[in-house]
Each structure stands twice: as structure tokens, then as C-alpha cells.
Amino acid sequence: MKKILKFLLLILLILIIIYFLIIKKPIQEFSKNYFYMDTYIVVKIYSKNEKTANRVLDNIDKIYSEYHQLTDRYNSYEGINNVYYLNNNQTNQEYIEIDKRLYDIIKYGKNWYSKTNNLLNINMGNILDIWKKYRDNKEGVPTIEELTSVKLFTPDDIILKNNKIKNNKLNLDLGALAKGYTTQVVADYIEEKGFDKYLINAGGNVIVGNHYNNEAYKIGLEDPNNKNNIYKVIKANNKSVVTSGGYERFYEYDNKKYNHIIDPKTLYPADYMKSVTVITENSKLGEILSTYLFLIPVDEGQKIINEMDNVEAIWFTNDFNILFTDGVEFNE
């Protein structure tokens, strides 16, 4: 009798082990929304640790809020030498001390100017202002005379030294990298706090960590021609996915569309494609590259990305074709 009992208990134990190995356990999701940098942002953390997850989500609000204020070029904030302050206080030329976070973003953007063949210009706010005015009025197109009448500054005019910046020849606009940069800072913070399963969606910037169910995140790419359609699903973990496109912020005049991504060489919006999506391991790099690729012809971009390790890209062209780099097939 004893022997049979022991035997049955062993079988029961084996059955219990198999049960826990096979049945997939659902996990809890904690999420919070934010609105900064003109974007609706969602952060989701998958974990069983409710208290810490919610605390992290609260702290993320502070991170986005502070980076938002530092990079804001339309508003000043008491006691903060932000982009607005730097752009509007250039009578006495001197070195102004700025927050290290702002210093690092400006330095990052400045370094990419030459690497992108002088296409990534974070210092042409005055040109962007002209286009914003026309975009808000939805009327007319600036002439080349109007665009060249303002001084064109470049990142080479930015002088940085020891966490200080010279307030001379500055018209900074960090729109091309602030969101991706900050979102990577947020992702790094989440990981630092011990969470590896998370998803961040900051408009055209998505970062995912490990999957909540040990599969792969399914990330849809919006069809530039139809907001309600997804033209491709990327399956990935631990990646940043950034899209640059002309189809969200634009205006139409005289049957032509003018988007918000301005080519510093022509001073007019770039028109080589409808959108480009870059997949990398780091959102700071992802956003820089997606802006860069939007400013050059598709085949040039393909050549450049195929030479890079750990970077893939997907183009939605003007004649409705979808082109990938070599590594994208593997993500299917």
C-alpha cells in the first residue's frame, strides 16, 4: 500500500511540474499616458511588482516633463536656460551654463551634422519658423527670397565647452531628435529599475523591451495613405522603431503637399518618399537616422543602411512601393 501511495504521489508531482511548464501565465500591465513635446505618449510596464512599476511610471512623467522644458523653443521657464532662452538672449555674447541633459542633446545633434552630409541641422529654427507660419495659415508657399533673407545658421556655429554654450548664432530647434533621445533615456531608466518587459509609444517613436509572454512584440507601421491601415507588422523585442514621414504634419496648397521636414540644402520640404522607418537598438540613433533617410533618395539610404550593423530600414515610396534593407526579412 505504501509503495503504491509513493508512486501515485510521484506521478502527481510530475503532472504538476508539466502543468506549470506548459500553461502560459498572463502577466499584469501597468501603464500611464503623458503629453509632452506635442505628442501623446504611452508607457507600459509588464510586471508583478505593482508598487515599483507605478512609482517608475510616475517618475517617467518627471523625465519627459523636464526634457520637454529644456528643449522647448516656444516657452521660457523660470530659472531654466532652455532652448527658448538660448535663442532669445544673444545680445551679450558669453558662455552660458546649461543643464547637462540639454548640453548632451545639443552635442549629440551637433556631432551628427557632418556624419549626415550636413543634412541634420539643429540650428535652423528661423527657417522652420517661416514654414510653420505658412503651415498654420495653410496659405501660400514661401519664396526662396524669403527663405534666404534670414541668416542660415548651422551646427558648426554652435560652440560648446564644459557644459556651457556660447549664446551666439543660435536658432536651435531640437525637434528632429528630442523625442527619440528622451524616449531612450526613459527606456534606460526603466531597465535601470529592474524592469525588462516594457513598451513605449511616443508617436512615431516606439521602444520595446522583452515580450510580456516570451514571444515577440507585433509593431504595426501606419500606412501613409490611410491612417486606419497598417501596411506592415514588425515582430521584434529589444528594439527601437522610429518613423519619419510627411503625412502627419503638413499642409496642402494649390494641390501640392508641404510637410514639416525641411531639407537644409534646398530650404524646402523633402519629397523623396512618403515615410521611412528605422529599426535599431537605440532610439537616439534611430531618430537621427530616420530624419537623415527622409532627406535623401531611397536608393542612397538603402546603400547607407545596408552598410550599417544592427540597423534596418523600411521605405514607403512615393509610388506606393515598400522597400526593405536586407535584414528586415528575418524579422517576419
Binding site: P26, L199, I230
Partner: protein, 118 residues
């Protein structure tokens, strides 16, 4: 065939039946549930994430809970509370209908997209 053979065969048989049973019922295909108010879809929720949702019903807020790949109406303002009494559903063959609040909860089998890059 002697006693020792049976001692080996029967446990293996039981265990394999058990594994087959588990695999059939452990759903690899993740499901979504659709929530309708007055016949219009107001929400689409994944069943593989435990969460409680607050939906506006005709008589007030309706709490809908997703737990362990099942979904149910947890709380609603109605004379007989029939739809919260119904409890959990976990397959697309079942539907939860809350007539007084005009809420319908249906499960659909479909591929979930986690997020969309705009």
C-alpha cells in the same frame, strides 16, 4: 506482459494524456475581446493582459475585468445584475449581453498588434 510493464506503461499513458489535454487547452493564439455600447464598438482589449476597464454604460459605469485569458462584467447598475452574474467567458462562442446598460462583450480570435508607429 507482467506487473512491471504495467507499472511503466500506465504512468506514461496518464502523463501523455495529460500533456495532450493541456496543449489543447493552453491557447497559443492570443485573443481579443470587443466591447460595444449601443451596438457601436467602443473598446478592443487583449485577453492576455490582466486589467480592469471602466466603460460608460446606459445606467452608469460598467466595470469589465480581464483575468487569466477570460473576461467578465464585474459590476454594473441594473435591476437584476444578470450580466455580472453570468461570470467569465473565454471563447468566441460566448457573449455577454447587458441589456439595461446596452453593453455587449464578444471575444474574437485574431492577431493582436501591440502598438502602431505613426
Amino acid at each position: 506482459m507482467n506487473k512491471n510493464d504495467l507499472l511503466l506503461i500506465i504512468p506514461i499513458f496518464i502523463i501523455s494524456l495529460f500533456v495532450i489535454f493541456l496543449l489543447k487547452f493552453s491557447n497559443n493564439q492570443a485573443k481579443n475581446a470587443l466591447i460595444f455600447y449601443e451596438n457601436e464598438q467602443v473598446l478592443k482589449v487583449p485577453l492576455n493582459i490582466n486589467k480592469t476597464y471602466n466603460v460608460k454604460g446606459y445606467n452608469g459605469d460598467v466595470l469589465i475585468e480581464v483575468n487569466n485569458n477570460k473576461i467578465r462584467v464585474n459590476q454594473e447598475n441594473s435591476p437584476h445584475n444578470l450580466c455580472s452574474k453570468q461570470g467569465y467567458i473565454d471563447s468566441s462562442y460566448e457573449t455577454i449581453v447587458c441589456l439595461p446598460n446596452k453593453i455587449v462583450v464578444k471575444i474574437i480570435d485574431e492577431e493582436i498588434i501591440d502598438t502602431v508607429v505613426k
